[in-house]
């Protein structure tokens, strides 16, 4: 069975094959989507082995639920939805977090950039303007020579974010979900989703800034 050209194979055909018990179709799906599913799971749960279990549970749910898949969403969306529901439950248990939609204090606290980096509000000419402007790195971050290590710094930075920020940044920026889908999946208001995204991105930017300043 050749599924190499699966991009050109319609999803409906893939699902039909899976329903018929075609192992190659299942293997292709598992190999194609498990890495993103695991990355997404790691946004909710911090233990690697637990993330692994959540991915496994997701695939088992796919097998038992394949009869109910009606093709109204893409396979990917369907998979991510199953995983999100499972990972949310596991993550909540792990962290004893009652509800996701309530912003934890660490999600709200603190400015995007330390106040020491700005001139004081009573400065005669430039209140609130940079006293220490950002160390420039935007031009080099994506150069091949430095990107590999940068990605590792970013990966560690992402894992160090408070859970709800990590989940929102992972869904939005790593997986490219639109805001409204993140709000729906996490039962977050638009405003809270934006606060979490803002805090998470701001922290990651400062982590990269420190990394590039040390490197210089």
């Amino acid at each position: 069975m050749v599924l190499v050209a699966a991009n050109h194979t319609s999803e409906a055909e893939l699902i039909d094959r899976l329903r018929d018990g075609d192992e190659a179709a299942f293997t292709w799906l598992v190999d194609t989507y498990s890495p993103s599913l695991k990355r997404l799971a790691l946004a909710f749960v911090s233990v690697d082995a637990v993330a692994e279990e959540v991915v496994q549970e997701t695939w088992l749910a796919v097998l038992t639920g394949i009869g109910r898949f009606e093709g109204r969403s893409t396979v990917k969306t369907w998979l991510f939805k199953i995983l999100t529901n499972r990972a949310k439950t596991r993550g909540a248990r792990e962290k004893r977090t009652v509800r996701f939609s309530e912003l934890e204090s660490e999600d709200r606290d603190g400015p995007a950039v330390s106040p020491e980096r700005f001139l004081p509000p009573d400065h005669p000419s430039f209140p609130g303007h940079w006293s220490t402007p950002p160390h420039p790195w935007s031009g080099v971050a994506e150069q091949v020579a430095v990107q590999r290590e940068t990605m590792e710094v970013l990966r560690r930075g992402l894992q160090s974010l408070p859970r709800s920020q990590r989940v929102v940044v992972t869904l939005r920026d790593v997986h490219g979900w639109p805001a409204h889908e993140v709000c729906a999946a996490l039962e977050l208001s638009e405003a809270n989703q934006r606060v979490l995204l803002h805090r998470g991105r701001s922290r990651l930017r400062s982590i990269l800034e420190i990394y590039f300043a040390e490197d210089a």
């Binding site: 192992e23 293997t27 890495p35 038992t64 995007a112 700005f118 940079w130 990107q147 940068t150």
Partner: protein, 100 residues
Amino acid sequence: MAPNSDTDWLMHKDDDTLQEMACQELVEVITEYLEGTLPESDRVRFEAHLATCAGCREYLEQMRALIRLSGGLTGKSIEPATRDSLLRAFRRWRDAPTGL
């Protein structure tokens, strides 16, 4: 009455639209700017500030670079043992679809 551009300008003098945005404010509304949810008057102030501030232009470019880099974070593969156990589960399901 025809609008008078001279007085229109004067009327806007006290409006926030003409108050310059400080860098410290810009870094807090940058996500709203990128999301397209910043109110029009603030968007105008945001862009007017950018035009005069190299530090904030760099800050915005850093945010954009961060978002692009995040999109390139690849997932870790599942363990071979997990994959094997999934394939075994698949065969059980295929052979007896009701009892996984």
